[in-house]
């Protein structure tokens, strides 16, 4: 890649990398892949990294994914039925050199059950740079964030449309790696149109923090990614990619979709490339794709 590499290990590796890419004028793209849905899932991680991801979010399946919609629920069910465990995921990740930072996304009980210090150490040993635990809000995150800091794991925190200004400042102050702006009030999943709340949360976060701001949940198409990245530093795309993988898209299908997202974000004249570009109205229709797999 042509972008300058940040440090590869140690506290802040994720955030340094994202800041460096942002400083180079690049819009950030973090795709989400559920671990264990197929034998070649690590190839998928590698393929989306090579196709232009700035980091990859890797889901460790949990039996009760409270904030996830049908697509990621199904991926978790498939992965668990394939005997995917936190240990098997981390073992696979430790053998992987994706060339971009890896962020684990799972629910708190998986981490809590392993023990906070032990879990943080296991993530670090597997080469993971950050963790997202969507059911641990700011008020409860202290013990985990301390353990994660010690192990050099970035604690990514979510900020929601319902989050008040003071609380949002406190979230940004505690977040490491990036701040995850929740694009809409709802569970993960694809939406026809980008919610107006996605632009609003991006603007609110950008106004108060230097930490990279990525918006996810309801960001499903290249056009939506471009639209939200017109204000935010980038986008997280989950269900749209996972749906393609569940349909058998494989590493090639995943790479093609991520390349399409990357291409749209990099296109000259795209709203993303024009700082403060249009975010509220309907973007022109999404580029036509020839299916995801």
């Amino acid at each position: 890649m042509s972008i300058a590499e940040g440090p590869v290990a140690g506290a802040g590796a994720l955030e340094e990398r994202l800041r460096a890419h942002r400083a180079a004028g690049r819009k950030l793209l973090i795709p989400y892949v559920m671990a264990g849905t197929s034998d070649d899932w690590t190839d998928v991680v590698q393929a989306v990294a090579a196709a232009g991801a700035d980091a990859v979010e890797v889901g460790i399946p949990f039996s009760d994914p409270m904030i996830d919609g049908p697509v990621i629920q199904r991926a978790a069910t498939v992965a668990l039925a394939r005997a995917t465990t936190p240990a098997s995921v981390l073992s696979a990740l430790s053998k992987l050199d994706a060339g971009v930072p890896l962020i684990v996304m799972t629910y708190y009980n998986i981490i809590f059950h392993a023990g906070l210090e032990r879990a943080a150490g296991m993530l670090a040993d597997a080469g993971v740079a950050g963790a997202i635990l969507p059911d641990v809000p700011l008020d409860e995150v202290g013990p985990w964030a301390d353990a994660a800091d010690t192990a050099g794991i970035a604690t990514v925190l979510l900020a929601a449309p319902t989050t008040g200004d003071d609380r949002m400042r406190a979230i940004c102050a505690r977040a490491r790696g990036f701040v995850y702006g929740v694009g809409l009030m709802g569970v993960t999943g694809e939406r026809q149109d980008l919610a107006a709340s996605a632009g609003v949360i991006a603007r609110r976060l950008k106004a108060i923090t230097e930490v990279p701001v990525l918006v996810g949940i309801g960001v499903s198409t290249p056009a939506q990614a471009v639209q939200v990245a017109g204000v935010a530093d980038g986008a997280v795309v989950g269900s749209a990619l996972v749906r393609r993988l569940l349909a058998g898209g494989g590493p090639d299908g995943a790479a093609a979709f991520v390349a399409e997202l990357r291409g749209a974000l990099d296109a000259p004249g795209s709203p993303a490339a024009v700082s403060g570009g249009r975010t509220g109205g309907d973007a022109a229709g999404p580029p036509r794709r020839s299916g995801g797999g």
Binding site: D64, N109, D139, T162
Partner: protein, 390 residues
């Protein structure tokens, strides 16, 4: 005043190391708003009077305490039942939903979502929604909807929309997941009317306070009948709302407190520390932290966790938690029907099953006075029991 005596929990809903508020950021403001509304309402005499009046004039409170003379003779104890089966909608669940529906109005919201297992909480929520003119959606696992189809019809009759849940184990825990998912998307006009002493703060505390009426009535009724507190107080525990309400009335007495879980869902007896559905509590889980599916004859107790205050009361030894098997429960169900002319729900039949065992083994001494909360009536279970025992 210590939180061990079932007062207001500390901080963000802590009962010792249990409780808390582990919810997605999107829901934190709604939980905080609910906490503030409840604190204010619970200190407001007009609200308390309205709540009490609805429970009295509409709900049929106070419910009686009945001495079971024939069954007592058989067991060698003096058994008293707190008759929540006689409350409107057939269980203690109405106490909670009336309080939450009044709070919903106070917060200016117009819709309720709820989860239900056996259907009792769903029916109660649908009832309160009809009474107060609120829209209502109830989530119910596919398995439960099948074994409790009459309650599904009741809810629809009451004007509620019932959505069956086909994810996960298709029982109560999955219905809770779906209710949370609905709430994340609808929180602006919707209140999540959680049915038990579980979930994120303030629910475990709030629901216990709304069920406290069970224990307070029972205590004064025991004093009237016996002139003293009973020796033993026993209730069934799924999430644990009828038990929490009952124990709240007796926790500061010398009475021995016993909570009885379903053998296939005994989180307090066989679970370990974990975080699920917004709370830290005792959960049934595997070695990786995946939540196990509970299995019980009683849909209302098919939950792999327990309310955080129960986890705490168990950890300090104030309440003894134990379990009863499906077979023992069916025997107890039939025993109460044939000796007292009362058909209990399968849930409180767990408490009866324990008492039969404990009286037989001498664990409960001969002549001991026992207050057992009969949390609901068995009409909903008759078809299922007929299939099993014909």
């Amino acid at each position: 005043m210590s939180p061990s005596m079932m007062e207001r929990p500390e901080g963000l809903g802590r009962f010792g190391r249990f409780g808390g508020r582990y919810v997605p950021e999107s829901l934190v403001p709604a939980c905080a708003e609910l906490e503030a509304a409840f604190v204010e309402a619970w200190a407001d005499e007009a609200f308390r009077a309205r709540y009490a009046a609805v429970l009295r004039d509409y709900g049929g409170r106070p419910t009686p305490v009945t001495e079971c003379t024939r069954l007592s003779e058989r067991l060698g104890v003096r058994l008293f039942l707190k008759r929540e089966d006689l409350a409107h909608t057939g269980s203690h669940k109405l106490n909670n939903v009336v309080g939450q529906a009044l709070l919903t109005q106070r917060m200016g919201k117009s819709r309720l979502v709820a989860e239900t297992g056996a259907g009792q909480h769903g029916v109660a929520t649908a009832t309160a929604a009809a009474l107060f003119g609120l829209r209502c959606t109830v989530y119910m696992g596919e398995v439960d909807a099948r074994r409790q189809e009459l309650n599904v019809f009741r809810m629809r009759l009451l004007g509620a929309e019932v959505r069956t849940v086909s994810s996960g184990s298709r029982t109560l825990k999955d219905a809770v997941n779906e209710a949370f998912r609905d709430w994340v998307a609808s929180v602006a006009d919707t209140h999540y009317c959680l049915g038990s002493v579980m979930g994120p703060h303030p629910y475990p505390w709030m629901v216990r306070e709304l069920q406290r009426v069970v224990g307070e009535e029972a205590r004064s009724q025991c004093h009237e009948i016996l002139g003293k507190d009973p020796d033993v107080v026993v209730a069934c525990v799924g999430g644990g709302s009828n038990a929490a309400g009952t124990f709240a009335g007796f926790v500061d007495t010398p009475a021995r407190l016993v909570g009885v879980e379903a053998a296939g869902g005994a989180a307090a007896s066989y679970g370990s520390d974990g975080v699920l559905h917004g709370m830290r509590s005792m959960l049934l889980q595997d070695e990786e932290g995946q939540i196990n599916e509970a299995h019980s004859i009683s849909a209302g107790l098919d939950y792999p966790g327990i309310g955080p205050e129960h986890a705490y009361l168990g950890s300090i030894g104030r309440v003894a938690y134990t379990s009863a098997s499906d077979d023992e429960v069916l025997d107890a169900f039939a025993l109460l029907a044939s000796t007292e002319g009362i058909i209990p729900a399968l849930e409180p039949s767990h408490a009866l099953a324990w008492l039969v065992r404990a009286a037989d083994s001498g664990e409960v001494a001969r002549g001991a006075t026992v207050l057992l909360t009969l949390s609901g009536r068995g009409d909903k279970d008759v078809a299922q029991v007929m299939e099993l025992r014909g």
